[in-house]
């Protein structure tokens, strides 16, 4: 069994919803999710974000769905931290 403990994503999103709502929507996926969002670049219609998600066992698919539900587009996974655990 392998748990994803930390991921850093490069995301493009429209100005609305705000960065705050965006981070909240991702954090709401898991009880122990810690989200750190940085706006890297901003143009007329879009914002480029770096989103760092930390958690005990990050469900990447749900994070990806939350991003696309909010109108965001995942460009790349820039960093990943995983941890293996013995199956019981």
């Amino acid at each position: 069994m392998v748990f994803v403990k930390r991921i850093v994503l490069d995301v493009l999103k429209p100005h609305s919803p705000s960065a705050l709502e965006f981070a909240q929507a991702i954090a709401a996926i898991g009880a122990d999710y810690h989200v750190h969002l940085t706006v890297i670049e901003m143009d007329e219609n879009t914002e480029t974000l770096q989103i760092e998600v930390k958690g005990g066992a990050i469900d990447f698919e749900r994070v990806q769905n939350a991003i696309s539900d909010m109108g965001g587009s995942l460009h790349s996974i820039d960093e990943v931290e995983t941890q293996g655990a013995k199956d019981k």
Binding site: P14, P17, E21, N45, T46, G72, S73
Partner: protein
């Protein structure tokens, strides 16, 4: 997220709160002034049966409601689709399944409902004294005068609502809209008696 929070979210991401408020006031004002005009017209013409007055006003209210729904749906739908296309071009991705895509489908319907219901419901409130009189209730004043009074009160309240949005004195804002109604009354009386 419950349904109301979701609606609030869709309105927020499309910046439609202001549009909705504007439509509510503009079309609500249309409804109130139309009813006021009709009541004055009946008051200044030969005495007419209450049922005729109610039917004429109800017809106008329904037409205002349908016109409000259809015109807002068509125009807002086009605006939202255009905005979504521009956003999709900027994002270089399909947003149909995202909140923006859902907003493009739902927000025009919500705005259309507000745009249609505002004049219809305000007209119904203005017609209330006529219905009560027709149902046999004795009003302290004649039903047409009561309906005109109701129209003036609702127009004043629309002004108060505008004042709250603008964060200016609600009394001044209410009086401003009331003045518009009074100018309408004067114009109708002048033209009807000419």
């Amino acid at each position: 997220m419950n349904i109301l929070q979701h609606i609030g979210f869709l309105l927020r991401i499309t910046g439609s709160h202001g549009i909705m408020r504007r439509y509510f006031v503009v079309n609500g004002f249309d409804g109130a002034l139309t009813m006021l005009g009709l009541m004055l017209g009946f008051l200044l013409s030969a005495p007419t049966e209450l049922s005729v007055v109610i039917s004429a006003c109800l017809g106008a209210a329904i037409a205002l409601g349908v016109s409000g729904v259809s015109s807002a749906y068509i125009s807002e739908g086009a605006e939202r689709r255009r905005a979504l296309t521009r956003l999709e071009e900027a994002m270089i991705t399909d947003l149909q399944e995202s909140a923006h895509g859902k907003a493009t489908r739902w927000v025009p319907m919500l705005i259309a409902l507000v745009n249609g219901l505002a004049p219809f419901l305000i007209s119904m409130l203005i017609l209330l004294p006529l219905w009560l009189a027709k149902a046999g209730l004795i009003l302290p004043i004649a039903p047409l005068y009561a309906a005109i009074g109701m129209a003036l009160i609702l127009i004043f309240l629309l002004g108060v609502f505008l004042g709250q949005i603008e964060r200016v004195s609600w009394v001044v804002s209410g009086i401003k809209t009331l003045l518009v109604a009074l100018v309408t009354v004067v114009l109708i009386v002048l033209f009807a008696s000419a």
